[in-house]
Symmetry: C2
Subunit: 678 residues, 2 copies
Amino acid sequence: MASIAEVSADNPALEAQAAILARPATPERHMADAIRALAIDAVEAAKSGHPGMPMGMADVATVLWTRFLKYDAADPRWPDRDRFVLSAGHGSMLLYSLLHLTGYAGMGIDELKHFRQLHSPAAGHPEFGEHPGIETTTGPLGQGLATAVGMALAERMLAARFGKSLVDHRTWVIASDGDLMEGISHEAASLAGHLRLERLTVLWDDNSISIDGGTALSTSDDQLKRFAAYGWAVKRVDGHDPAQVAAALSMAMRSKKPTLIACRTIIGFAAPTKAGTAASHGSPLGASEAQAAKAALGWNHPPFEVPEGIAEQWHKAGARGATPRRAWLKRLARHPQRAEFERVTAGRLPENFHDAVAALKAEIAATKPKLASRQASQKALETLVPAIPELVGGSADLTGSNLTLVKGMGTVTPGNYAGRYIHYGIREHGMAAAMNGMALHGGLIPYGGTFFIFTDYMRPAIRLAALMRQRVIHVLTHDSIGLGEDGPTHQPVEHLASLRAMPNVFMFRPADALETAECWELALRRADGPSLLALSRQALPALRSDAGENRCARGGYVLAEADGPRQATLIATGSEVAIAMAAREALAADGIKAAVVSLPCWELFALQDEAYRAEVLGGAPRVGVEAASGFGWERWLGPDGVFIGMTGFGASAPFEDLYKHFGITPDAVAAAVKRRLA
Amino acid sequence: MASIAEVSADNPALEAQAAILARPATPERHMADAIRALAIDAVEAAKSGHPGMPMGMADVATVLWTRFLKYDAADPRWPDRDRFVLSAGHGSMLLYSLLHLTGYAGMGIDELKHFRQLHSPAAGHPEFGEHPGIETTTGPLGQGLATAVGMALAERMLAARFGKSLVDHRTWVIASDGDLMEGISHEAASLAGHLRLERLTVLWDDNSISIDGGTALSTSDDQLKRFAAYGWAVKRVDGHDPAQVAAALSMAMRSKKPTLIACRTIIGFAAPTKAGTAASHGSPLGASEAQAAKAALGWNHPPFEVPEGIAEQWHKAGARGATPRRAWLKRLARHPQRAEFERVTAGRLPENFHDAVAALKAEIAATKPKLASRQASQKALETLVPAIPELVGGSADLTGSNLTLVKGMGTVTPGNYAGRYIHYGIREHGMAAAMNGMALHGGLIPYGGTFFIFTDYMRPAIRLAALMRQRVIHVLTHDSIGLGEDGPTHQPVEHLASLRAMPNVFMFRPADALETAECWELALRRADGPSLLALSRQALPALRSDAGENRCARGGYVLAEADGPRQATLIATGSEVAIAMAAREALAADGIKAAVVSLPCWELFALQDEAYRAEVLGGAPRVGVEAASGFGWERWLGPDGVFIGMTGFGASAPFEDLYKHFGITPDAVAAAVKRRLA
């Protein structure tokens, strides 16, 4: 192998590395080296993974986890713990090493030995739910940072509700170059700066390396200047100098703004030839380089072994939070809002939820209002917002269109977090990720509005909500060509299908005001995944007056049975259910007996037993109606079914003209039935 | 109606407006007022639209279109014209007014009167293809800006190839607050700054208003500082002072960096009560406010009428480019690269394309290499890149994983645009939009790589490519659980379905090296929409040795007929075709005769005639195999079909373990067939 002197001509990082290694090794360095050694060993054992980042950021992480981060390894779910987010999720062994070393149950040495193997909590990237010390799933770059903004916001909002004696913690993020290059980082950092989320600190692993090579290949950003432009405090430090790191973290603790600390590090620190290069980023170092790296650190222990002295120091660090946690428990015990705090933290809906929803549904059933489903959603919120204090809303700058703001919510503003409504700005992706962060933090149920088409902008965050099984609710208005003049860029076509295809998403599309209330109820009751409500811009007639059973709970049901033996079954969702009902009437006039099935949630319908589904769908020829792509409809229509909907993109015109132009009308449905029966 | 003095206490913009209106009205102001009046009238007539932006930016646009922008209204397709992008697409009447006033054919007063009506080229948002003066479709915020980055890059790259005598133009963008808040603006501006795209100028409509109200509700960004951090030149001007605007545009013309000009404007300028407020943003002013706005401007002409003098001045402006265009045509006529320039500009593939592809396929058929399809794609590129000079590639920082770089391409670097490979950085969304811009600009065929999962990050730009019918090619590797250890955040499940549902996308998933070459051929030949290639990380056996006909061209075909009357048909795509083939063999050993159908492109298969499809799919029971969600597979499997694939998210483990864990194996397929036949 080439000596450091030989290769450093090509790789200036090696010279810097030699200088750092020449410093007297402190106990803190040894603690950091334990992280490095475990990361090296686990990646070698898995024959895959990312050793470079944990090796580079071990010193920074050690300072944070031994001196600043508030946590108690004995109780990973302590509500007032600091949140630590490894946005650079590929460096997962950094997190697993920390969880192991500080003594979290369930992350033993065997788990590390099974890094990246089936059923190990030490997955390739940190997966929320695999281990309680993992606060959020990360890996898709930028998501961790943006999710952390939601956590930091949730902390401020809960502190405004329950006071500092119960809610008084911070959010710390380790982010990579990639995190800061992703567009979502702009939305998240800009929002955090605007809202002055002073409890948020981002430690940027400023190692100048990405997968393709030096970051200079693709970026010339002055990141400190950029974040200062967002209203952040910024600081640059040597990430291998614990004193500098500690001073910057202290500064962040005092800051009245969110703080970005650029930690200049050497990726793959200690690797004799690969340090400072992309070669240490995403592959095992290889046996000899791994061995030499450990030798350079003076780490003479067998793989996966941490000497007792160092292990003990780490365990001590992991118990630093025990005393403050016990003090917090005492404060909780005598806190006047204890019951409410425990309720919202556990994610239990309030006692009066059922009654409030029942009253809402009864009123709608009695008055049968003709409302756009976005208006019906607003009507539902007028009941739900007062009934559920933990429900917090917002919109990506479409408040008046999404109808997401109701009286008395109050607005979250910079420095004042008592309100319940967030102006997220034109930041759909940042909004969705922040909502994930609020849900993960606990204590709040977030909903947010935008046009349905813009789910395209926030899809990675919606997917993470589904993967992490988080209760977030998206209010997605203007859900078809029914939005009219704004044209094809604003008209969803494939969006229902594309989100129905995503695992663990409940995609609701209610047909009238009563169904909208029912879908809202289901979305709120659902504690294990996101719910999406696709809502119309245009007004919809009331179709039902039965408020008893939540009929949307089965996903689909017979809204109107045929007057006699069924000759056809019309199946529709949302705004097209009224079209199907009108077609049913037209057919009846011609003596054809058709039933109408409303199918507001395919996922719930799929969960029903076969017999129920068969009864609803019936044996007669089926015609599906939806102002959207027919992709996936074969599932309900069968091979001989007919689909009336969109076959391409929309167009710009008043919505009535568009429905005619694209042939989604009662007449077209009736004609299709007749052709089918002919 | 309240007078300005009465309402200005609540609305400080009105005082500023009064001061501007008090300035002596110049001929230039009257020209700008023609835009304002047409915008007001069209929005009133349509009873929907966005008058505020055209009214606010009319002065800026007048300076640009009468003094700086290089164009000839008589030839909207002149290749060396400047590109004008209205990123703030909701202000479409600004663009339509300009096209009308400067004399573009096809945008007469009747078209403006039918603003936002069916079949009018004056759609709600500017739609590429509806009128040649519309350079790109805009509306989804941030897209125009990011697309313009691709146009500006294409100009530099073509200038490096053909010289300044043929390629010497600029890209101008009008962007809104919303454009700058979207995450994609970060990716685009950062890339442009890094690559020093000095011919790009962004005129930011800095009006402090978004839909929810003042931008202060949601943002505190210092945009000039932010763009300076990206390496841009920045300047702030009064957008209602033509002299200041012109000075800034002159500065931009001399700048060695891309330039952001913050144009301080009053939204809805001239409206007596709604100016400076969100009320003028997205709704008609209403008759009385409209009337009063015109009165304030001294515009005393009937709706949709522009006085002859003003109309003539505008027509003159529209013909400013006639002389330079004729000079350019002369230069083209005698240019040594004339034929090549005309070929690439017209989007015609080179003469030798067919032979090069034939040779590639013949070699693969002869050698039958076992390659991951991402490797097969690289192999194809090794032939295609030399054969097609206009083919330019790149990756969002996954070059070594996507295998998108082949020898001899050369890299595009800041200030040097002769290379053919772009390191887009960790900016998937910005990459996809820039690729759209390159394709729209003409002269280049862009391809770009990332992991298939990250189509989620670039979905809005993919959709625009489909809507605009642009030839862009996405190389999407690591296309299933076959990527292994990186785990569920990196494993596509619903992505095939979600992109198959999108209109006008060809979603290819080749099964071996030969199919990969065939799919590349089809993607390149396709001139009217985007092609997506989903490619495996893991190695795949060669399945065919027939290089004659491009069998993927029909979307699906019988790869292996049953040895006798079919008892089952196994239908698969990509990496699962080999699994189906192994199952076929296992079944044969048990005396069951099964055919295998490869279905690499559902869209092409759907375009075949019914008889062909029926013949391929056959009458025997069908089993589909795809390591993905089964959503949409009913279309090919029918009601009694069986699907072997994913039912939820993936997991982190070596890929062989995952295929076993999720039951996607030859044994599982064979067992499913037997159960089905039992």
